[in-house]
């Protein structure tokens, strides 16, 4: 047992911090810290800075333009970015599709798509869930029928995060209806500028238009956009999901969120003192911090156990459940911390376009919206109920 970071790892952390201090503008970091919704250009500009340093694809091997970092380095990198309030790296191309193409894509697909993920030329989104296929994803019905040199795609995807910014979507489609559901699914790359693709925003509980419905009406997709083998898509989909879950604990976000609670509680008045000195609030805060300290080690243990460079297996479900519960508890603390100012909803006050003096403290503006928005954490990426079922089957063998 050795819980300390090596000399090289500590040096690496300093390197990441130096990069952040030079490249992350205070204005952008403020937007992230205050929970403002970022525009496409905010994300693209940040990706470009990371890419210029060669750090955008932190989980990719060197041969594809990745970093070749160890799991520990990746964790340090993710922590530092989150603690500095950097925008999150948009995961669809980098963490989801990239590893699938690297493992199952053909040479032409790798050459064609991987560099454009790094350069930002393509913005990918994920076409998995459908109105009738959420937790039970394998029953998806969007169909792809082979007609000569193309597939004809018809159907609907939903909960497509940031699909409004995307020009490409990777989709699970049904290519065989006559076998058991998992055996008739293929993994298809679809150009969203193709005729017949339409995107409709879904406004969420906090007013954000962050997810979408994507409709396919007789969309022609060239057969060379099929990844791997026809009807083998379920294998690739599961592979992608385990990658999606490597940072599912969202440790960096929790650490940043906790730092934010402390900052707010040190500014908020409580009776004749400050909220941070109130024993009841301090106890709640300490409780979450204790959970988070253990979670960091649980996360490291799971990563260490997985073979080098491989995604963890069913243990990642554990990280997802506990990690999202902690993140959600922190959003609850943040909304509590701002007291009655959790009520006003003034997103424009932190999203620019408002030059007036803020009517309430800027740190309070988005707290309730964030609390509600983060309810999604226990729903998406395989709901926490699905994760618990995986734990029961794969670990407990119940």
């Amino acid at each position: 047992m050795d819980l300390s970071y090596s000399h090289e790892e500590r040096q690496f952390r300093e390197e990441v911090r130096a990069f952040l201090s030079q490249n992350l503008s205070p204005a952008l970091a403020d937007k992230v810290r205050l929970g403002a919704r970022l525009g496409k250009s905010d994300h693209e500009a940040w990706h470009a800075k990371l890419n210029a340093r060669g750090w955008l694809a932190s989980s990719w091997p060197l041969e594809y333009g990745g970093t070749g970092w160890t799991a520990v380095q990746r964790q340090i990198f993710e922590d530092e970015l989150a603690l500095a309030h950097a925008p999150r790296i948009v995961p669809f191309g980098l963490t989801m599709l990239g590893p699938v193409l690297q493992k199952f894509g053909n040479e032409e697909q790798k050459r064609r798509f991987l560099p454009r993920i790094l350069s930002g030329e393509d913005w990918w989104c994920q076409g998995y869930s459908e109105p009738g296929a959420g937790s039970d994803l394998a029953t998806l019905r969007t169909s792809a029928v082979r007609q000569g040199r193309h597939y004809l795609v018809n159907g609907q995807k939903t909960w497509t995060t940031l699909g409004q910014f995307a020009n490409w979507i990777f989709c699970l489609v049904r290519t065989d209806k006559d076998v058991k559901p998992q055996a008739g699914i293929s993994f298809l790359l679809i150009d969203m500028t193709s005729p017949g693709v339409s995107v409709r925003p879904i406004v969420l509980i906090d007013g954000a238009a962050e997810v979408n419905e994507v409709f396919f009406d007789n969309v022609e997709v060239p057969v060379e956009n099929l990844v791997g083998e026809e009807n083998d898509g379920w294998t690739y989909a599961k592979y992608l999901l385990t990658h999606e879950r490597t940072n599912i604990a969202g440790l960096g976000f929790s650490k940043a969120g906790l730092a934010n609670v402390k900052r707010i509680a040190s500014a908020e008045a409580f009776d004749e003192g400050l909220l941070i000195d109130n024993p009841h609030f301090a106890a709640r805060l300490a409780q979450v911090e204790i959970d988070l300290m253990a979670m960091a080690t649980t996360n490291s243990r799971v990563i260490a156990k997985a073979a080098a460079g491989q995604a963890p297996g069913a243990e990642s479900s554990m990280l997802k459940v506990k990690g999202t519960l902690i993140r959600q508890e922190i959003t609850d603390l943040n909304r509590r911390a701002v007291g009655p100012y959790a009520m006003p909803f003034l997103p424009e006050a932190v999203e620019g376009g408002c030059n007036e003096e803020p009517v309430i403290p800027d740190y309070a503006v988005m707290q309730s919206a964030q609390y509600f928005n983060n309810r999604k954490l226990s729903i998406f990426g395989g709901s926490n109920e699905i994760q618990r079922t995986i734990i029961c089957k794969a670990i407990l063998e119940l």
Binding site: I205, A269, M343, F345
Partner: protein, 365 residues
């Protein structure tokens, strides 16, 4: 013991449920008028005050139905808080305003909380200083619900003492167009109109004072107790609504070839939601039944109920969204509105943490 509503209250409850279900889309002004015509505003006041109710269970019947329907009306501000203060403390001229409230012709707001007061009722920094036989008010009142629609505000200000004294707080009836009074309006997350109200050199005649100088705290605490009981009932109605939506949803949503409500893991969670909502109902009954008790007992029940409602509101909001999945996260679907209301209620007149601490202090005597 008898836990039955009186026949009149039962009838009111049923007629409100029908009316609210059929009139979901009324504008705020129309809705306010309709409430007056239905006699709902009058139900906030006793017969002596010109109404026909005014007791805890009159408030709870009305607010539970408002909460169930997810409807917003400035009933709390005009009918309970400001109206209550006027009836409790007002002189003849001020009492006369109550009749206008009951008739639906006057809306008011209660401007009490301040940026640094958090949930402490005695924490008033706004000052009212003697000037030319009247008073000059200066200060900042935060999250004043219904300030924009209100014609008059009831403003608390300190005539003596330091910011944290219960003594020395006075109330004033202030016209909205008073010079030096600024209202910066916004909506809350759950779509209620609120505002920051700034008072700068606001000069008032002596007649604007409501009640005795420096002695408003007890009345504020009592009227906030009534408002808290009403809020608990409103949250309870919202919880019932969220529960019904969720039970319907899990009975119909099919995954893995069955309705997801067939999964025992989800069934048990809904059973817990039901148990906790029954607890919330009992806590609401407790506080409503103790509004006229002596102060110590009354306030103990206020804090007990608001703490429990805050905790259960969070549980119900979170569980119902989770059991719905993505659809529960959308603005279009009804659940979102009631879930947001439950959470926002936690921030009105003290969240579950505030009332836990207050309960501890009160129970020490």
């Amino acid at each position: 013991m008898n836990f039955q509503l009186t026949e009149e209250r039962q009838m009111l409850k049923e007629s409100l449920r029908r009316f609210f279900a059929q009139n979901q889309d009324l504008g705020l002004d129309e809705f306010w008028k309709a409430l007056a015509e239905l006699g709902v505003i009058g139900a906030m006041f006793s017969e002596k005050q010109g109404g026909y109710g005014g007791e805890g269970f009159d408030l709870s019947v009305v607010f539970e139905e408002l909460g169930r329907a997810g409807l917003k009306a400035p009933l709390m501000q005009s009918g309970v808080l400001a109206g209550g203060l006027l009836t409790q403390l007002g002189n003849d001229d001020q009492q006369a305003l109550v009749e206008q409230i009951i008739a639906g012709r006057l809306q008011l707001a209660f401007a009490h909380g301040e940026p640094r007061s958090r949930y402490l009722l005695r924490h008033v920094s706004t000052t009212a200083k003697n000037c030319d036989g009247g008073f000059r008010l200066d200060g900042h009142k935060s999250v004043v619900i219904n300030a924009e629609r209100a014609k008059k505000l009831i403003v608390s200000a300190r005539t003596s003492g330091t910011f944290n004294d219960a003594g020395g707080i006075s109330l004033f009836v202030v016209d909205k167009d008073l010079q030096g009074l600024q209202v910066h309006g916004y909506q809350t997350l759950d779509g209620v109109d609120a505002a920051e109200v700034r008072l700068e050199n606001c000069v008032l005649p002596k007649s604007a004072m409501l009640g005795q100088e420096g002695q408003a705290f007890d009345a504020i605490e009592y009227q906030v107790a009534r408002a808290t009981a009403a809020l608990c009932a409103e949250s309870l109605g919202a919880m019932e609504s969220a529960k019904e939506l969720t039970v319907d949803y899990i009975k119909t949503r099919q995954q893995f070839g069955v309705a997801i409500g067939k999964f025992q893991a989800l069934q048990h969670r809904m059973a817990d939601v039901l148990i906790e909502i029954e607890q919330a109902r009992s806590a609401t009954i407790n506080v409503c039944g103790h509004l006229e008790a002596e102060r110590g007992s009354r306030e103990l029940h206020v804090s007990a109920a608001k703490n429990l409602i805050g905790r259960v509101g969070r549980l119900v909001a979170e569980e119902c969204i989770q059991l719905h999945g993505g659809i529960g996260m959308t603005q279009e679907y009804r659940l979102g509105a009631v879930a947001k209301r439950m959470i926002m209620i936690d921030h009105e007149w003290g969240d579950s943490d505030h009332h836990l601490q207050r309960f501890i202090e009160l129970s020490r005597g």
